[in-house]
Amino acid sequence: MAHDHHHDHDHDHNQGRDLAVFQHGRPPVDRSAIQGWGADLDRKNRPGVPMERTPPRIDAPLTQPEQQPQHVEVLLSPERPHMTPLFGSPNPPRGVSGMVRRAAFKETENDIRHWLLLMLADRIDVVEGLVEDLGRGHVPNILGEMGIKAEWQHNKRGLAQKVAIGAAVAGIACYLYQRRDRR
């Protein structure tokens, strides 16, 4: 089939051009073997082209949704400073990580400090999560949380390698530490 947006340099051969030419020397695909081939070739069947379609196809209310009541702290982007009618409420900012998050939201999304502070807060949050676990008497099974059972089941060799590397690193560190103490 015609495919008009390249090979213009080859005008003399246009009449004899077939799909094989346009597939860069590959044999034509057997379209009948591909279920649904070309079902959406007609652009009218493409729901997203043009990408911005008005009016939308769904039957949604054209009024602004009612405001969700706010019971927890939600940080607001300086680039859209009004509270949205809907928002997620789990895991409000807490502790030191929360303080860092509040500082991050003083910067705009356009400012890299915003994102770097959030990444820092995420790492602090991990430590706070451990403390929280221990505080309520729960000793987290960190290896279990990392999927050690699956690793043992499906990747014994990889697990053995990791254990060996870990043991070697720990052994070297221990040796260096002892040597430093002897000086």
């Binding site: 597939q23 949604a60 209310p61 940080l75 949205t84 409420s89």
Partner: protein, 394 residues
């Protein structure tokens, strides 16, 4: 209820958490019967998405049964079996009116670029996700779609993200009849992008990855050619060779911020976090596509800085299109495709795991163990619901 609980990079577990409640009159509470782990959940799991707070429940691909509705919900009723698009959206704002549901302006106070997404960090609104027994679903009359009676629940759950995202990736490539399409990434979205490329009339579809079992799967499932990039010297050069030195007509990035294949990108983007992830797949797209070609990006990149070869894109006269998928826009057509047998999404599901074993499920998917393509998590109460239905039917 039982729910997945993020504890830090590479650490998740199943925990008991309080049940979600109606917080807005447009909300519903959905009892989850199936949820998936998405490739983009791995970006969260690996700690690469800013403002991913400890205690969060991930999961933006889920289906379930409506358990409770708010006072303003009129179209959805208790007992409806629904699939829930991953976007949290209102349907009425400036962007939703343009069918840009991934960019809703009314559901995420914490960032201006993206709308709300279930279980996808506070950068995407701070909503808890569906890897749980119950989930709060805002704007219940707008987002959820009742699953057709003849549709398999496993097909339905793949309509919440993976299939529409792959389909939109192909659509944004603006494929013309006979086009050569290269898809980078043989994960679920890449697999569906390859499959969809044929629907749009591609003449040749090539999928690139480095995991052999994934390439074997996509070759069988999407009847495409495959390239293992570990076996070629230079990816862009290889694509040029495969295409009579012109380049592909359309390249699709279905990988995002954790692409392998470039030591420099991996070190700076993933290990040192000097940029918002490794942009290797995007480099390859821009450098492998022909002049005047189209690059479509659905792989997830975190904010904010990435080193990408924009100069090459300029000099080649490329069209770059990208977005989070506007799932709801594609559902009617994709349901037709499934019912007509053009796509059989559930074939990509390789693992069904009880929610209680979520730690292992994440590890298997993340480490590409046990030939994993797609994992479905099944909460204990999902089985309970099925048992009730089964009793009722007899």
């Amino acid at each position: 209820m039982l729910a997945m609980n993020y504890r830090g990079p590479f650490r998740v577990r199943a925990d008991h958490k309080p049940d979600p409640v109606i917080e807005h009159p447009g909300d519903a509470i959905v009892r989850v019967t199936r949820s998936c782990i998405c490739g983009s959940d791995l970006h969260l799991y690996h700690g690469l998405v800013p403002d991913t707070r400890v205690g969060t429940t991930f999961g933006h691909e889920f289906v379930g049964i409506v358990e409770e509705v708010g006072s303003q919900v009129t179209k959805l009723k208790v007992g409806d079996h629904v699939l829930v698009p991953f976007n949290v959206f209102c349907g009425s704002c400036f962007f939703c009116q343009k069918e840009l549901y991934g960019n809703c302006h009314n559901t995420n106070p914490q960032a201006s670029a993206v709308g709300g997404i279930y279980g996808y960090s506070h950068t995407a609104g701070g909503f808890d996700g569906g890897q749980a027994e119950f989930v709060r679903v805002p704007m219940a009359d707008v987002g959820p779609t009742v699953i057709p009676a003849d549709m398999d629940e496993d097909d339905a759950v793949l309509l919440t993200d993976a299939l529409p995202t792959g389909y939109q990736a192909a659509e944004m490539g603006d494929i013309s009849e006979g086009d050569t399409v290269v898809v980078f990434g043989a994960g679920p979205v890449g697999i569906f992008a390859a499959k969809s490329a044929w629907l749009f009339g591609a003449g040749r579809v090539i999928v690139v990855d480095h995991v052999d079992y994934r390439l074997d799967f996509v070759r069988r499932y999407a009847q495409c050619e495959v390239v293992n990039f570990r076996e070629v010297d230079d990816m862009a050069l290889h694509i040029k060779k495969m295409t009579d030195w012109l380049g592909a007509d359309v390249c699709i990035d279905a990988v995002g911020c954790e692409a392998a294949g470039s030591a420099a990108q991996t070190i700076t983007g993933v290990h040192l976090m000097m940029q918002a992830g490794s942009a290797t797949a995007l480099h390859w797209c821009i450098n492998s596509v022909r002049k005047g070609g189209n690059v479509s990006i659905v792989g997830v990149y975190g904010p904010t800085f990435n080193a990408i070869p924009i100069g090459n894109a300029l000099n080649k006269g490329l069209t770059l299109r990208m977005n989070q998928a506007s799932v709801k826009r594609h559902l009617p057509r994709l349901i037709e495709h499934i019912q007509a047998g053009r796509i059989d999404p559930k074939q990509i599901i390789t693992h069904r795991v009880p929610l209680e074993e979520v730690s292992d499920a994440y590890h298997i998917f993340s480490s590409k163990l046990d030939d994993c393509i797609k994992t479905v998590l099944i909460p204990p109460s999902a089985n309970q619901v099925r048992a009730i239905e089964s009793t009722a039917n007899h």
